[in-house]
């Protein structure tokens, strides 16, 4: 297969990228709504394993995440243990 693997994001990189994209949309809102909006969006649309990976990265310092994403992290619902 002729594709540039170095140009493809890993799942984790993608999650950071997606979270930042969401944050960018909410950038034009007042600060509180921004954080709230990001967290709500992620809680509503991300399955537990995506949120788990995301929270793990956040715990490890949240490299590459926008400040508002990091702030929103506190409001992101951790997945329950039994969920896949």
């Amino acid at each position: 297969m002729s594709h540039d693997d170095e140009n493809r994001m890993s799942t984790k990189q993608k999650l950071v990228y997606m979270a930042n994209q969401i944050a960018t949309f909410f950038d034009s809102k007042p600060h509180d709504e921004r954080v709230e909006g990001i967290a709500e969006h992620i809680n509503k649309f991300w399955d537990p394993r995506m949120r788990r990976q995301f929270l793990e990265m956040l715990a490890a310092g949240g490299a590459g995440m926008k400040p508002t994403v990091i702030e929103a992290g506190a409001k992101i619902r951790p997945p329950k243990q039994d969920a896949a």
Binding site: M1, S2, H3, D4, N7, R8, M9, T11, K14, M18, Q21, I22, T24, F25, D27, S28, K29, H41, K44, F45, W46, D47, P48, R49, M50, P79, K80, A83, A84
Partner: protein, 959 residues
């Protein structure tokens, strides 16, 4: 059963409110003002003989067969062109009329071949009927004089004679049988809007001609078939009728191709489909169709259809045909094993926008109830998920606001990122008709589509923006409307949140959103943006129609919000002629979204986290539903590559070809342990499948499709499933094998369950559909007959919500390595990934995908028209042939994605819409260079595909 008979009233219905009463042959009849005497007679039950009139086109008055006498008027006026007047007394049959009519018929017949017994139209020919109706018993003129019938005359060539034109794959044109009634010409103009036909010459010498005396296939003709339907004789005739003969019964059903959802009569002889004829009472299409729905059904009986279930251990093995029992039990065992081994969330499924609502409902049900997770998604993910998000946020429903009839009241149509002439042809015809009547058009599209300029249509403004700058342009239009005070304050104060609008004004009035600034990013001249905004805001009823060119972007959802804002601020919502209308791609995209195909939503767009909603299903299905959102298609593939997602049930969907970044999709599929594909053909995804369950076509099952207007249309079974089972039955067998207590005897029972559990469908039932023909949801206590137009008097969500729409440039940027922007689209004769249309005669129009490139860019690269080129992005490369055209701007290239050999999605990247992960198909940075032929990748891919399609015991691979 018999044929579904439709009355031909001779001339179109008049929409006038004023009524006129007259007498026809002693019967009193009341009709709207503007009705023809012919139509009024028919309303009274009296059929006046006619040849050149039919109610799909305006009267022309050329055949002189429909003459009548009117008391107090001299002469014998043509009833088709004479409007009714109050108190008029009409006689349709007098001795004078009888003589004239006989004379007319005699002339026609004397220049018509008398091979009625062997003619394809025998039994369905209006010329025959009229000869009978007027009592023609002999023809005084011989056949030796001037005629169009015989190739030879008096031993020499007959120069009046023309050979048959059989170039169109679906119908023939036999000039010898033509009576030059011009119904075909008018159908092509008035109904289809293509203007491909003309009458050449005069008097006896006049002939119907496609284009400049071209063969049909070489002309502008788009093969919609309207002319064939209009033709009263066998001159224009379906080849299928020539081959098979006249149908004996017919059943009304719905096209399975695009989101227009045209109604058809499937005309049958036994279980053989003779032809499809658009149904006049179909509320989406009003008796019209395109080439796909009318003609391209041959795939249903194509020899490559797989009819037996198959399994294999590894995807490198050949397929092994097995019994249904074995395939079902194997699938369930595998899924259970995977869940046991890797966890409950390790499997999921994909519903199909091509299958019925009932089938989609069952697939999401088996996933939620049987798999016990919410890993369900649909191909709508890759096209219209931003519509759901954007319209849901702003208005409160995830659907278009109008019915198609609404376009008849539109004064300004704004088309964004859509080419209805190619993707939604029947809607395009209806829109064009309105445009010819004087409505104005604005097109926002990187490409100069057919809508921008075609016969008798020209857009007032074409905003040829750089791909990826939709948000900037739409926001700039809002800027103009706000700063020039063109907004509708009264509407906003009444229906929207005024303070949110204030906030939006503050945002949008900023000079960075001014057209002059946006010109720099989008390449659209500021004056064009201003002109478009002014026209949209002040031109009367303004309606927005948009397509995948809006949604398939990193900012797809933001653009949808921007569009919703435009309509709100100008008050263009909540009545006829206005609104926001997503043009849905596939036939049942709307329905598959409605039916709970998204991982975070139960049917009717209710979030899975809502306890009250889950309770409804918990108690009905006897399980505790998972309250967590599941994985979306791209997330499933990521999880598969990561090793946490191992099995998938895919109904009627070809993600390997339709989803972006093919190599990532194939890596994801290859990482799974049980891929189950249920489809008609061994599609591309099936190359990676372990189980193949044969699917059934729309002709083989009962059910419903929901079109882009939220219209629920019946699909009716006209033949036995060749594979043995309708798709819903296959899902039911899987569920039963899983131990679920399913026992649906008919799809109507599935609809009953949908109605019982989904408020917006509460009153939908097969009985009601039988009665009303079709119904638009919401259909419930408040709207028992459905809802043609939404948000009348107020928004579903309460107050309409303005949301800021900041333009953010996509990260997919051009640079030295990839200096051009690729955008993708569709063409008329092919459908989506082409699995069906490629297996019909439609290939006559689109044998391969081509890369459109501007002459300037081509010259820089030393390319000539038709050269092989290599198209490369950071995701991959492919080759195809170049087509040099200025339809695209410099810097932009364009291709379609109908053929697996091209695999345009090898090129597209993993970027996606911020809100919904809808992939960014419409912008990819690429380089184009000369090439010698297919890439290694394409060759490898083809080898792999050929290998993986082997079936044990069969000589040839299936494709």
């Amino acid at each position: 059963m018999g044929l579904v008979h439709e009355i031909d009233f001779g001339t179109p219905v008049s929409k006038s409110e004023k009524q006129v009463t007259l007498t026809v042959d002693g019967f009193t009849v009341t009709v709207p003002e503007g009705t023809s005497v012919m139509r009024a007679s028919m309303e009274a039950g009296i059929e006046v003989p006619k040849l050149c009139a039919t109610d799909m086109v305006d009267a022309f008055g050329s055949c002189r067969l429909c003459l009548v006498e009117i008391e107090g008027r001299a002469g014998t006026p043509a009833s088709c062109t004479t409007p009714v007047t109050p108190g008029m007394v009409v006689h349709t049959q007098t001795s004078r009329l009888k003589d004239i009519r006989k004379g007319v018929m005699e002339l026609y017949i004397s220049d018509h071949p008398l091979d009625c017994l062997t003619c394809a139209a025998n039994g369905d020919c209006e010329l025959q009927d009229m000869a009978g109706a007027v009592g023609l018993r002999d023809v005084r003129y011989g056949y030796d004089g001037d005629n169009h019938v015989f190739a030879k005359r008096n031993g020499g060539e007959n120069f009046n004679w023309m050979a048959k034109d059989e170039s169109n794959p679906y119908f023939t044109y036999d000039p010898a049988k033509c009576i030059v009634c011009s119904r075909c010409v008018r159908a092509c103009e008035e109904v289809q809007g293509t203007f491909a036909l003309t009458i050449e010459g005069r008097g006896f010498g006049s002939r119907v001609s496609a284009g400049m005396q071209e063969a049909f296939i070489d002309s502008e003709c788009v093969s919609c078939g309207a002319c064939v339907q209009a033709c009263p004789t066998a001159t224009l005739q379906e080849k299928s009728v020539i081959q098979i003969g006249q149908p004996e019964h017919s059943v009304v059903t719905t096209c399975a191709y695009c989101g227009v959802g045209c109604s058809f009569k499937a005309e049958m002889r036994g279980e053989e489909l003779v032809r499809m004829v658009p149904w006049k009472d179909g509320k989406a299409n009003r008796g019209h169709s395109c080439v796909k729905g009318r003609f391209a059904y041959g795939y249903a009986t194509h020899r490559e259809r797989i009819l037996n279930p198959m399994i294999r251990e590894k995807i490198t093995d050949p397929w092994r045909e097995v019994s249904w029992e074995e395939a079902i039990s194997h699938t369930v065992k595998e899924f259970r094993r995977i869940q046991y081994q890797y966890g409950r969330g390790a499997i999921g499924g994909i519903t199909s926008s091509r299958c019925t609502n009932e089938e989609t409902y069952l697939v999401q049900k088996i996933i939620r109830q049987g798999f016990r997770n919410n890993n369900v998604d649909t191909c709508a993910r890759v096209c219209h998920s931003p519509t759901g998000y954007g319209l849901g946020q702003t208005y409160g429903t995830s659907a278009g606001t109008q019915d198609f009839d609404s376009v008849e009241h539109t004064d300004v149509a704004l088309i964004i990122g859509a080419n209805p002439a190619a993707a939604h042809p029947v809607f395009a015809s209806r829109l064009k008709k309105r445009l010819r009547a004087g409505a104005k058009l604005i097109v926002i599209d990187p490409r100069r589509t057919e809508m921008v300029k075609s016969p008798h249509i020209e857009a007032a403004h074409h905003l040829a923006l750089k791909p990826g700058t939709n948000v900037a342009v739409v926001t700039a239009m809002a800027h103009v409307i706000v700063t020039e005070g063109l907004f509708n304050e009264a509407f906003i104060r009444e229906r929207c949140d005024w303070s949110e609008f204030q906030d939006y004004i503050e945002f949008v009035a900023d000079p960075r959103h001014a057209p002059e600034e946006v010109e720099k990013i989008s390449g659209v001249p500021a004056e064009t943006i201003r002109g478009a905004a002014r026209l949209y805001a002040t031109g009367g009823n303004a309606a927005i129609y948009y397509g995948l060119g809006v949604t398939e972007h990193s900012q797809g959802s933001t653009t949808v919000i921007g569009i919703a804002n435009l309509a709100m601020m100008t008050g263009n919502i909540g009545r006829r002629g206005v609104g926001v209308n997503p043009l849905r791609g596939q036939n049942n995209v709307q329905g598959s979204c409605d039916m709970g195909s998204f991982p975070h939503e139960l049917p009717g767009y209710r979030h899975i986290s809502g306890d009250a909603v889950r309770d409804i299903y918990d108690s009905l299905w006897g399980v505790k539903l998972d309250e967590e959102p599941g994985l979306r298609i791209p997330n499933m593939l990521d999880a598969a590559v990561d090793g946490t997602f191992k099995g998938i049930y895919i109904q009627g969907e070809d993600i390997l070809q339709s989803d972006p970044d093919t190599s990532h999709v194939s890596a994801g599929l290859a990482a799974m342990e049980c891929v189950v594909v249920q489809d008609l053909f061994l599609n591309e995804t099936a190359n990676y499948a372990h189980v193949f369950l044969p699917g059934s076509t729309f002709l083989e099952k009962d059910g419903t499709f929901t079109n882009a207007e939220r219209r629920i249309n019946r699909v009716r079974k006209v033949m036995t499933p060749k594979n043995g089972y309708a798709d819903w039955e296959v899902t039911q067998m899987l569920a039963q094998e899983m131990g679920l207590n399913w026992n649906y005897q008919h799809p109507s029972e599935i609809m009953d369950e949908i109605a019982k559990t989904t408020p917006s469908f509460a009153f939908v039932s097969y009985d009601r559909l039988e009665k009303l023909g079709s119904v638009q949801w919401p259909c419930n206590e408040k709207a028992p007959e459905g809802t043609p137009i939404m948000h009348i008097g107020g928004f579903v969500r309460g107050k309409g919500k303005f949301i800021r729409t900041e333009y953010v440039a996509t990260d997919e940027k051009t640079g030295p390595r990839f200096p051009l922007l690729l955008t993708t689209g569709r063409i008329l004769s092919q459908y989506n990934v082409g699995a069906q249309t490629r297996r019909t005669e439609n290939v006559a129009w689109h044998p391969e995908d081509l890369l459109e490139i501007h002459p300037h860019d081509a010259e820089n690269r030393g390319l000539r028209d038709g050269d092989w080129v290599r198209l490369q992005s950071r995701a991959g490369q492919t080759t195809l042939r170049a087509q040099i055209t200025d339809r695209v701007s410099p810097g932009v290239v364009y291709t379609t994605f109908h053929h697996p050999d091209t695999q345009a999605n090898v090129i597209t990247t993993d970027f996606s819409d911020w809100a919904t992960n809808c992939p960014e198909y419409k912008v990819t940075a690429v380089q184009v260079a000369p090439s010698n032929g297919p890439t290694d990748w394409q060759k490898d891919y083809n080898d792999q595909a050929r290998q993986s399609r082997r079936i044990t015991g069969r000589m040839e691979a299936a494709e």
